[in-house]
């Protein structure tokens, strides 16, 4: 029977939880409750993470290649995905700036430079699975090929919007990951079983 005296007290010392009790039963019930609470928190965060990740695929922000990217991350390289996408976003910023300069004056557009920038952007977005960014690059290249400055400017604006949007989305995803780890949980590697994705963005599940 549980009495007030037999319930354990909890103290946090140096970031670690310590349970004190003169009663063994009190300790185990308390620990079980604590663990259960922790597990619930972790499970909730994991579900939140998975739902969010799935939504990014469903809305077309990410494709198969992002799944490939995640496969390359492991306990030894826990920040790999974050590092690569960070490099990608730096690339975006740099290339967009230089293309913007090339497109600035209507009488003197360096389409070769713009084409080179689009090529690089298309390549890196494709490598990380940034689907929407990559798709804008395809249209962008078409405008460049016919030397359509107006079209290029529109595409430039769109690509700027898309990469910044993706950056925000992924930041939210990484924050969820951090919360899971801090709560003592593992980051889910697979999609939940209910997932239904459009065929063109459905990830490859080759082990």
């Amino acid at each position: 029977l549980m009495t007030a005296k037999s319930l354990a007290s909890k103290e946090t010392v140096n970031g670690r939880c310590w349970f004190y009790s003169d009663d063994d039963d009190g300790i185990s019930v308390y620990l079980n409750r604590e663990l259960h609470a922790m597990n619930t928190v972790v499970a909730q965060l994991q579900t939140q993470f998975q739902d969010y990740l799935v939504s990014l695929y469903q809305q077309g922000f990410l494709d198969n290649q992002f799944t490939e990217l995640r496969k390359l991350q492991d306990e030894g390289t826990p920040d790999f995905v974050a590092e690569v996408v960070s490099l990608f976003f730096d690339d975006c910023s740099k290339l967009i700036n230089s293309m913007s300069r090339s497109l600035e004056r209507p009488e003197n557009v360096d389409f070769k430079q713009v084409d080179s920038g689009v090529h690089q952007l298309k390549g890196s977005s494709s490598s990380v699975g940034a689907r929407r960014v990559k798709n804008v690059c395809i249209s962008f290249k078409e405008c460049c090929d016919v030397q359509n400055r107006e079209g290029c400017l529109r595409c430039l604006q769109q690509v700027d919007y898309e990469y910044k949007m993706l950056k925000t989305k992924l930041q939210d995803l990484f924050n969820l990951e951090k919360q899971i780890v801090q709560a003592g949980g593992a980051i889910p590697q697979h999609f939940p079983s209910y997932t239904i994705l459009r065929p063109d963005i459905r990830p490859c599940l080759d082990a």
Partner: protein, 222 residues
């Protein structure tokens, strides 16, 4: 991690894109390879120990032999095709023209599916042509090519120790006939029939639907 470097393959990866260099490096590391990345063809040649200018018979040239490359053993070169300055194709040619390095297998990567480009590279001696973005499944195809150079080098050494290594690597290899493919440094043949590897690479890149998912038509994923 560098303890078992004797049996580990060393790959030289060449790509002007930082993002792609990071990717290919990690892909190769995940496949247990030691990786060196460089951002240009000329840096790749420098790393190998080949001069930028031709190894000419210029009597005025410093009579230095490229000592460094003797110590560095490269089992595979994987390079991007489109690079400013020296393209991947140019690099491939330089490597295949070099007596010291022509036996190193070269793999070309490209974001563009241009059949003429692909066959040109394969004819010049590239082992495989990968369409970007490169995946883990692509990188696992590299092992057989890297095995060839290992086996060749092992077969040149007379020591017993190396024979033991040789046996071990044969066992790992699925196709025992790989030994019969050696020696590698024969001239590029004008064969009407492409080798299996090359045909496979050709068929793969010609397929338009690269994003075709490889699932068993079920709507639920676990």
């Amino acid at each position: 991690m560098g303890m078992a470097t004797e049996s580990q393959f060393h790959v030289l990866a060449v790509d002007d894109s930082l993002v792609d260099r990071k990717m290919i490096e990690r892909l190769l590391q995940k496949s247990s390879c030691q990786v060196t990345t460089v951002d240009s063809g000329s840096k790749a040649l420098e790393f190998l120990g080949l001069r930028e200018s031709n190894e000419s018979n210029d009597p005025n040239a410093p009579s230095s032999s490229p000592v460094t490359h003797q110590e560095i053993e490269i089992n595979l070169i994987i390079t991007d095709y489109c690079m400013p300055g020296m393209t991947g194709y140019d690099l491939l040619k330089r490597v295949k023209e070099s007596a010291a390095f022509r036996s190193i297998p070269v793999v070309i990567m490209s974001s563009e599916n241009v059949p003429a480009r692909i066959s040109r590279c394969l004819e010049e001696g590239a082992e495989e042509f990968f369409l970007k973005p490169v995946k883990l499944a692509d990188v696992t195809k590299l092992k057989p090519h890297m095995m060839k150079t290992k086996l060749k080098k092992e077969s040149e050494k007379p020591s017993k120790e190396d024979n033991a290594v040789l046996k071990h690597e044969i066992r790992k290899d699925e196709e025992p006939s790989v030994i019969e493919i050696l020696p590698l440094h024969q001239d590029v043949e004008q064969e009407p029939m492409l080798s299996n590897n090359k045909r496979k690479a050709m068929e793969e890149v010609i397929s338009t639907d690269r994003s075709r998912p490889k699932y068993n038509d079920i709507t639920t994923l676990v």
